[in-house]
């Protein structure tokens, strides 16, 4: 076990000794030791199901550990609960935003511990105090506005403010960046460094490995509920990290090689909708096109509108030289055009239904033993033949086709969504944040599948907030900003800073010229 240099001088803020926790049938955590020092960012990393979240839930008091002890400031905590951990100065910032959209910023910040006089809330005092706290984090937000009017990045900052408002000196970040774009991440890191200087200790969970090197002091790797190693970040490199996380060697995370592009399969011309305008782009056969931009720049909205979920005001979507007449997902699917949505669990799958049903839902006609019009009867033999074919070809990790998708891991779920579209013989794919919340091992499998698809002549538009993914996988890259396409790169010319500049709203070359003319 390596110890941080700082640690030798100070008492740990928090110490976990021999923590074990099991759920029916699963040993989630097995004898974990962990410590956190003031002013340190301690990164926890591991595949999904490695036990990171369970560990953090034990720290926050949402779960009770079966064995082991927890010490905060040298004092042993016998009984923990969300309320006790809060009193101990532990603040949690979760992956999903937990703010209440219909409440004001100030009310959200003080949710669960309002400033009161007797029974009555002191609204003015809370607004004033929120303003002060937000200012400390360099945030210029009016604390009396409703949270629903704010962007995702701002909301994440409010989550942090919320945790700090409880005078936390231990913060736990559970994938805080999964819904943030790079620019917002920079802002977040800036804040984290400020907090570091104040002596606050932080646990930081992330699937984005490059973040670890940017922000982490120490890193602990977990696998299958066991601690593999704790080490100073500077003592480890990316490849070693990946190997330790996966427990095996992953040669190349981004396997994609450039193919010779064929004719354009997807063309979007001058599409304007609620959150975007005049978007034109094309994706050719054999091409993976990346789409980058800040969260809220309108990327997902373009994808949704093109696929037919939302109505667009003007413009056209052309698939394989045929214009889509109706704006509906059904029409798109008929033309071999599909969308893998960013929220797998709510938009991609029906979790209470099994793998087979999910996989076949858009291609039921292939399983019919007979049909009258659109009404057909599903033949169970055909059904199981198709499903088992895709389960094996995509290596979907499920014991049977009848397993409910809610019991599958994130990567497996994403494969089921992909299989659904492969069954429907789709050729044009929009992947919206394809690897969000998916661990490294599964990520590389998804990337391999994407590469195989374009090998077979498919066209892929990949929306991602992960710049390294964009740079690693794309042949061409569009950058969106404020609802418009702000520029385009060839993958060979693209750089991280170049993309960021465009994403932040600095005009691309063409736009610059236009502006000069005006």
């Amino acid at each position: 076990m390596t110890t941080c240099e700082k640690g030798e001088l100070m008492e740990p803020l928090l110490e976990l000794k021999g923590i074990s926790k099991s759920f029916p049938g699963v040993q989630a955590l097995d004898d974990i030791n962990l410590d956190l020092y003031p002013g340190e960012v301690h990164v926890l990393i591991g595949e999904n199901g490695a036990g990171k979240s369970t560990l953090m839930k034990i720290i926050s008091g949402a779960y009770q550990s079966d064995e082991g002890t927890m010490e905060v400031d040298g004092k042993q905590i016998t009984k923990n609960s969300p309320i006790i951990s809060e009193q101990l100065g532990i603040g949690m910032i979760y992956q999903e935003l937990n703010l209440i959209p219909e409440l004001s910023v100030a009310k959200n910040i003080f949710l669960g511990h309002p400033i009161k006089k007797g029974f009555v809330n002191q609204d003015k005092k809370m607004i004033q105090k929120s303003r002060e706290m937000l200012k400390q984090l360099n945030m210029d937000v009016d604390p009396s506005v409703l949270v629903k009017t704010l962007g995702v990045g701002t909301q994440q900052m409010i989550e942090i403010t919320k945790a700090l408002s409880r005078e936390a000196n231990i913060l736990v970040f559970d994938e805080p960046t999964s819904s943030l774009a790079d620019a917002e991440i920079h802002n977040l890191f800036h804040v984290i460094r400020m907090l570091q200087e104040k002596g606050i200790g932080m646990f930081y969970i992330s699937h984005r490995l490059e973040e670890i090197f940017e922000i982490g002091d120490r890193v602990t790797i977990l696998r299958d509920g066991k601690k593999i190693q704790t080490t100073a970040v500077k003592d480890i490199n990316m490849d070693q990290l990946i190997e330790k996380i996966a427990g095996r060697k992953i040669e190349n995370l981004y396997p994609h090689t450039r193919k010779t592009p064929g004719k354009p399969l997807l063309q979007i011309n001058n599409l304007s909708g609620r959150a975007f305008k005049n978007v034109s782009l094309h994706v050719d056969a054999g091409e993976i096109v990346g789409m980058s931009g800040l969260v809220g720049a309108g990327r997902t909205e373009v994808a949704r509108a093109a696929f037919g979920i939302d109505k667009y005001f003007s413009g056209e979507v052309i698939l394989n030289d045929k214009k889509l007449k109706k704006c509906s997902p059904r029409e798109s699917v008929k033309h071999g055009f599909c969308l893998l949505p960013e929220n797998r669990k709510t938009e991609g799958l029906a979790l209470p239904r099994d793998v087979s049903e999910n996989m076949l839902i858009s291609a039921l006609d292939q399983t019919f033993s007979f049909k009258i019009g659109s009404f057909g009867v599903v033949d169970p033999k055909k059904e199981s033949a198709i499903v088992s074919q895709y389960i094996s070809s995509l290596k979907i990790a499920t014991p049977t086709a009848r397993k409910l998708t809610q019991f599958l891991s994130g990567g497996t779920q994403q494969k089921v969504v992909l299989a659904k579209w492969l069954v429907s013989k789709c050729k044009v794919f929009i992947f919206d944040e394809p690897t969000r919340g998916i661990d490294v091992g599964a990520k590389s499998e998804i990337y391999k599948l994407m590469d195989t698809l374009v090998e077979g002549g498919a066209a892929i538009l990949m929306i991602s907030s992960d710049l390294s993914e964009i740079l690693g996988m794309s042949d061409r890259i569009y950058v969106m900003c404020h609802g418009e396409i702000n520029g385009e790169f060839d993958a060979d010319e693209a750089t991280q800073s170049g993309i960021l500049q465009l994403a932040f709203g600095q005009k691309g070359k063409e736009a610059d010229e236009n502006e000069q003319q005006e």
Binding site: S60, I100, K107, R274
Partner: protein, 337 residues
């Protein structure tokens, strides 16, 4: 990062306001005797029951649940109060006892929903029958009345007119505020105050939005989620007082069917089943909107089935208007950064 200016926006009004204003204007023009002070004081007093249980109904709805038992709990509470009074128990004790019964019943609903995890629709659907049975059992399925004795000071006080404005030679009452109206006003004011000024609003919103994350925020989830049903029960109890005072007796069917009217009022008022939002004034205005339909239809002397059709269509219309305004708001919202 667009911090909005606080200028007036239609969409920030409780959504029931539109249909209420439309109906109010329409009836004022077309219905004789509608737009008169006397009628307004009548409406204020009569609508009280619906207003109170609509407030009660909005709490479970805001947590993402529903309380179908509210109506039969009114009957149960009323019967309990009636039985107490019948046996000569002083009225303030009887009334408090009845409200406690309602609160307890609501508490049991909440306990089943949030502790035993029976879906709210099923829980309250079941307890609706239970409350109905109990009301019939305690009353032996009969109307309960009591002797006009010295024990009913409170009831008498509620009945007296506190403020009366007479017109002309003293034959026509122009406007009056009775003890009941004052009582309703106090309860409504108290519930709005408690909801907005103490932690109820944010905690209930948080629970309705996501109960697990509310728990992780350190909110005492059970206290507030069960509390929401208890409040609904309590409001049913208070509503029972009103009916009791107004009719001077208690019947085992006095609250039947009211849960639906209350849920409809709350829904028009923007308390939607997804939970995590909603407003008390919305429910109140919603209740008035429903009530003035009945009032106007009575003045017009229409058949009760014509009034059914009008009520049904108005409901649909109200929901459509809500929908349109929400869509308009969304369109104006533009890009969120």
């Amino acid at each position: 990062m667009n911090s909005r200016n606080k200028s007036f926006r239609f969409s920030s009004l409780p959504s029931s306001t539109y249909i209420f204003v439309i109906l109010l204007v329409l009836f004022s023009i077309t219905v004789p005797n509608f737009f008169t002070p006397a009628n307004f004081s009548t409406i204020l007093e009569q609508a009280g029951v619906l207003v109170l249980i609509s407030i009660g109904a909005s709490f479970p709805i805001m947590t993402g649940g529903i309380d179908l038992a509210a109506g039969s709990v009114i009957s149960l509470c009323g019967i309990c109060m009636g039985v107490f009074l019948h046996n000569g128990i002083p009225d303030y004790i009887a009334v408090i006892g009845g409200v406690l019964v309602g609160t307890l019943f609501g508490f049991c609903n909440g306990y089943l929903v949030h502790k035993i995890k029976v879906p709210p629709f099923i829980t309250t659907f079941g307890t609706m029958g239970i409350a109905e049975s109990l009301a019939n059992f305690f009353s032996d399925s009969r109307t309960i009345y009591w002797k006009e004795n010295t024990n009913v000071h409170l009831i008498r006080a509620l009945k007296t007119d506190l403020l009366e404005i007479w017109f002309g030679n003293g034959n026509s009452k122009l406007f009056s505020i009775s003890g009941i109206v004052l009582f309703i006003f106090l309860v409504v004011a108290a519930s709005i105050f408690i909801f907005n000024k103490t932690s109820w609003k944010e905690n209930i919103y948080a629970i309705g939005h996501n109960i697990e994350s509310a728990r992780l925020c350190g909110i005492k989830v059970l206290k507030f989620s069960i509390g929401a049903y208890a409040i609904s029960g309590c409001m049913s109890g208070i509503a029972a007082i009103l009916i009791l005072v107004r009719s001077n007796c208690a019947t085992p069917i006095m609250g039947s069917g009211m849960e639906f009217q209350a849920i409809v009022a709350a829904t028009i008022g923007g308390n939607v089943a997804e939970g995590g939002k909603g407003s008390i004034p919305g429910s109140i205005i919603g209740a008035f909107a429903i009530f003035i339909i009945r009032n106007a239809v009575n003045y017009l002397g229409l058949n009760s089935f014509v009034s059914m059709i009008i009520t049904g269509i108005t409901l649909l219309l109200g929901m459509v208007i809500n929908e349109l305004i929400a869509a308009q708001d969304l369109r104006k919202g533009g890009v969120r950064v």
